[in-house]
């Protein structure tokens, strides 16, 4: 079901009209999603899913409940509202409940591409068929997925809030593995627009790197200078975004807590070239303009000149601490230079090139220490050239340390395998990175 602004408005009004509570919010997501998977050189599963979720949050006298259903007819939404209000009555007091937002002014974000809206099984098969054939021509096996979605999202409440947004997203990821099983690489594309998706180029790139990564040599674990490709940077910085939460920082439970109390906002924590910001209205890489409560995402500078400038917060915490209302961002951009990855390699004396990271997990939130593995192309660089492929490593290191030990920054680009939050980050040369043990995985 497509939910344009006028239909969305009518549906929100229909839900709100059923309410007896003064404090009632509805968040509706309507979507058409499709995919075609492939593996071992053939299509595997395909799916088309039409869905809608209606989440009603009812609150009265400090008691709040959220009930989510999947129907939009009047009888169903009436029942949903009754259940939310009934469940709220059976719920405990929530002292942190905030009064409803009466208005929100999210930026205007254009993120809908008609070519993605029109994607059907035949076009999917064409794109995937081209990817598989390119892999065959390059003598590698391939596995991956083409996904597309058309999503409308709306939040409204009885205090007058109404925000609406429609977006598309299309993505293709493909892993290529060499026939001897010793080489592997992955490439990905993700965007609101279809026009930039070139399956042959994407698979050709992965096939070339997979072939280059064949028969990796073993290097001892240790602390090495590294080049992190943009996807590896995005994989690490995802933890930083989550960590930039004001409340645990204030409560002494975060890497951004100051010893003795308070947060580290205002402290120079990173290399002075580090600038991290978010902007939902970025024309090339648009992202969600509001969150599930309808709070607007604005252009925000989180780190400027290496100094921590802001932490995101809940409405409750912003109110308690008299902070600017800053929801967790829907995008993260990091400034960089003009050099492509190849130019960074050329200027790098000796160390490890890391294409991407895998199975990353928090080891210690106090220092934002992360563990994980390198994957899909790890190379030894010597005197500005890729000298040889090397086996993967497990790493134990922190994005805080990476941003403090920068040597050089390359040209930012969209991380094609990060399909949740929009991540636009540069490749980085880092003075040292802890590669703790060797992995035999390819």
């Amino acid at each position: 079901m497509s939910l344009d602004k006028s239909k969305a408005k009518r549906l929100v009004e229909l839900v709100l009209a059923q309410a007896s509570f003064g404090d009632l919010r509805v968040h509706i997501t309507s979507s058409q999603r499709g995919h075609l998977r492939f593996g071992a050189g053939r299509p595997t599963t395909a799916g088309d899913v039409d869905g809608v979720t209606v989440a009603v949050t009812a609150s009265k006298d400090g008691r709040t409940a959220t009930v989510t259903g999947g129907r939009t007819d009047e009888a169903a939404v009436s029942l949903l509202v009754q259940r939310a209000e009934g469940l709220a009555g059976l719920s405990p007091l929530d002292p942190e409940h905030m009064p409803p937002l009466s208005s929100s002014r999210p930026p205007s974000v254009k993120a809908e591409d008609s070519a993605v809206v029109k994607l059907r099984p035949a076009k999917r098969a064409d794109l995937v068929g081209r990817a598989i054939r390119r892999a065959e021509a390059d003598k590698v096996s391939t596995a991956g997925i083409l996904q597309h979605e058309h999503v409308s999202e709306v939040v409204g409440n009885r205090a007058g809030l109404f925000v609406h947004h429609t977006r598309t997203q299309v993505s293709l990821s493909a892993t290529c593995r060499t026939e001897d099983g010793t080489g592997s690489a992955r490439s990905g594309y993700v965007s609101h627009a279809l026009a930039g998706l070139l399956p042959e180029r994407l698979v050709g790139d992965a096939a070339e790197r997979a072939t280059r990564s064949q028969l990796p040599m073993r290097r001892d674990p240790g602390r090495y200078p590294v080049i992190l490709a943009p996807q590896a940077v995005a994989d690490l910085l995802a933890f930083l975004v989550d960590g930039l939460d004001a409340r645990p920082a204030d409560e002494g439970r975060s890497a951004f807590s100051r010893a003795g109390g308070g947060t580290r906002v205002g402290e120079r924590m990173f290399d002075e070239r580090v600038r991290l910001w978010s902007d939902p209205a970025d024309k090339t890489n648009p992202s969600l303009p509001f969150d599930h409560e309808g709070r607007a995402h604005e252009k925000v500078s989180w780190v400027e000149g290496g100094e921590l400038r802001a932490l995101h917060n809940s409405r409750y915490w912003a109110d308690q601490k008299r902070l600017e209302d800053l929801p967790k961002p829907s995008s993260l951009h990091m400034d960089g230079g003009t050099d492509e990855l190849e130019a960074l390699i050329a200027g790098f004396d000796r160390g490890v090139l890391i294409s991407r990271l895998w199975y990353t997990r928090m080891l210690d939130p106090q220092r934002l220490l992360i563990t994980g593995l390198t994957r899909d192309g790890t190379f030894w660089i010597d005197k500005g050239k890729i000298a040889e492929p090397i086996r993967n490593f497990r790493f134990n290191d922190s994005p805080l340390s990476v941003l403090a030990k920068l040597v050089a920054l390359g040209k930012p680009q969209r991380a094609g395998l990060s399909s949740g939050r929009v991540m636009v980050v540069p490749p980085l040369v880092v003075a040292e990175f802890e590669l703790a043990s060797v992995s035999d995985a390819v």
Partner: protein, 530 residues
């Protein structure tokens, strides 16, 4: 006292029993009531209609699943309740084979016209996939035969967890958090109850029709101690696992009685010492070892991974089908069983999402790889004629594919206790609870942490530690397993959130095990160079 409480992990829920694999098995009162009250049953005709429409449109096979997935979360933080969340997803997913390709369409708007349209769209999509597969010269979909079944099965339970008012659940959680925070030094306590109900009807074009209702419940309790003056904190999470069970499991857990102990654990961890790193023994409690089993044995014995079908995201496997019967994965005492009939097991069902009856089989016997997890379209790749019944989809809108059954390490015949394992260890670390976990895409190199750590010296627990992880290679790790606890030490743990696939789906799965002893690289993850 500490050891005794560590051993008193959660037992299988009361009332648990083997699932009934046939429709003639009698249902107890609670199960009968759940089936009578099921809102899904009244839509069964729509599922049948969808299958008929798919066959009429040219499908050589079709199955339709009506799934009502409900989840409720009640959570508190310190003395404050968070908003209660109740989610319901209901709809129909129709999956077909046509011209040798798979097609799938899921809808929420249920009418006869809508389900017929969905079935026709699924067939049209399958034909496109079949055509492409043929053009590429690749093998078409081939399904292993399975007996047709008509049946009903409900999780053995006393109390439907959705029948207990959230305010009563929250009250219990608030009492637990208050007890945790009474411990001096504890600054924060968080607790939650999650309940999931999966009510589903499966109809296949081969004549099978099954109705199942599965209840899963899971508690969570975490205490955090903060050293505000020097900066620093430590958290401890209770190891009570999720179970396939009703509310009675959570009611009988006695979390309140565990609260004070957990608070003391958090404070002790905050001030605990550092481990001396090195290659040494680790004695792993069931609350820690289950996840290591999941990652290092559960995932690599998934046949789709070994065939390369999951290579783009989850990865492949270091185990190969042609190594079945010969690959030495562990020491001779290591025996791992897959079991979708295990009482309390989160992956326990009557039948899978292809109407294949639940069963149990060996994956690793005497330390050797002997079996795989399969679905109907995979069995032929390893020369088997029947599926192992591992097909599952999260909700009506997930495409069914191969998911993990309960995979468990069998107790050793010596009847060792946890104390026996510790007493036999000269230099090592005893680890409980689930901490940080990470493993590579072929399941060779893993690194796991835990919740509590104790240094073992000369057969005794000597001092608490923090910031400990153990790292190993899967085959070396399991080959080093030289002591396995006896039957009395066996415990079942598990997770609601086993992610796999593209688009990612979640699977609930349990792993049982006794404590066991291994060699591993023990790491100090404190980052302190001193």
């Amino acid at each position: 006292m500490w050891l005794a409480s560590a051993r008193a992990g959660a037992a299988p829920p009361k009332g648990a029993r083997r699932p009934a694999p046939a429709s003639t098995a009698p249902l107890d009162e609670a199960s009968g009531r759940a089936l009578v009250q099921s809102p899904v049953a009244s839509d069964a005709d729509l599922a049948r209609r969808a299958v008929q429409a798919a066959v009429k449109a040219g499908a050589s096979y079709a199955d339709a699943r009506l799934v009502l997935l409900r989840s409720e979360t009640v959570s508190v933080r310190n003395d404050r309740a968070r908003p209660v969340r109740l989610r319901e997803r209901y709809g129909l997913g129709i999956r077909v084979v046509a011209d040798g390709g798979w097609g799938f369409v899921a809808i929420q708007s249920l009418s006869e016209r809508a389900v017929i349209d969905a079935a026709e769209r699924a067939v049209a999509s399958a034909r496109v996939q079949g055509k492409l597969t043929a053009e590429l010269g690749q093998p078409l979909v081939q399904l292993a035969a399975t007996p047709t079944v008509q049946g009903k099965w409900v999780t053995p339970h006393e109390l439907d967890p959705f029948d207990v008012a959230p305010i009563d659940k929250a009250q219990l959680l608030l009492e637990v958090c208050a007890a945790v925070r009474k411990v001096p030094g504890v600054s924060f306590a968080e607790a939650s109850f999650e309940a999931v109900s999966e009510d589903k009807i499966l109809v296949t074009s081969e004549g099978s029709e099954v109705h199942q209702i599965l209840f899963r419940v899971e508690p969570s309790l975490t205490a955090t101690a903060v050293d505000g003056r020097r900066g620093g904190f430590a958290s401890c999470t209770h190891d009570a696992p999720g179970m396939l069970a009703g509310w009675e499991y959570l009611r009988d857990l006695q979390l309140l009685g565990e609260a004070e102990r957990l608070g003391h654990q958090a404070v002790r961890k905050l001030h605990a010492g550092r481990v001396k790193p090195g290659h040494k023994h680790v004695v792993l409690a069931p609350s820690n070892l289950w996840l290591t089993i999941h990652e290092s044995i559960g995932h690599p014995t998934e046949l789709d991974r070994a065939l390369g079908l999951e290579a783009d995201f989850a990865g492949t496997s270091f185990m190969k089908p042609d190594q079945t019967g010969s690959l030495q994965v562990g020491s001779p005492g290591v025996h791992l069983v897959a079991d979708r009939t295990q009482p309390g097991g989160l992956a326990t069902v009557g039948w899978d999402d292809e109407a294949v009856a639940a069963g149990a089989w060996d994956l690793v016997r005497d330390g050797v790889l002997v079996g795989w997890q399969t679905t109907r379209d995979q069995a032929h790749f390893i020369g088997e004629t029947a599926s192992r019944g591992c097909c599952y989809a999260e909700g009506h809108d997930g495409v069914p594919f191969q998911r993990m059954p309960n995979v468990s390490l069998q107790p050793g015949p010596e009847g060792y206790t946890t104390e026996d394992l510790i007493n036999a260890t000269e230099d090592g670390v005893y680890i409980t609870g689930r901490g940080s976990w990470s493993i590579d895409q072929q399941r060779h190199n893993f690194q796991f942490s835990g919740q509590t750590f104790w240094e073992i010296k000369r057969g005794r627990l000597t001092r608490p530690l923090r910031d400990v992880a153990y790292q190993a290679n899967t085959v070396e790790f399991w080959s080093s397993c030289d002591m396995i606890g006896g039957k009395g030490t066996y415990r079942l743990h598990g997770t609601f959130g086993d992610g796999k696939g593209q688009p990612m789906q979640s699977n609930a799965v349990s792993h049982g095990c006794p404590p066991a002893r291994f060699m591993a690289n023990v790491l100090d993850t404190s980052g302190d160079p001193s």
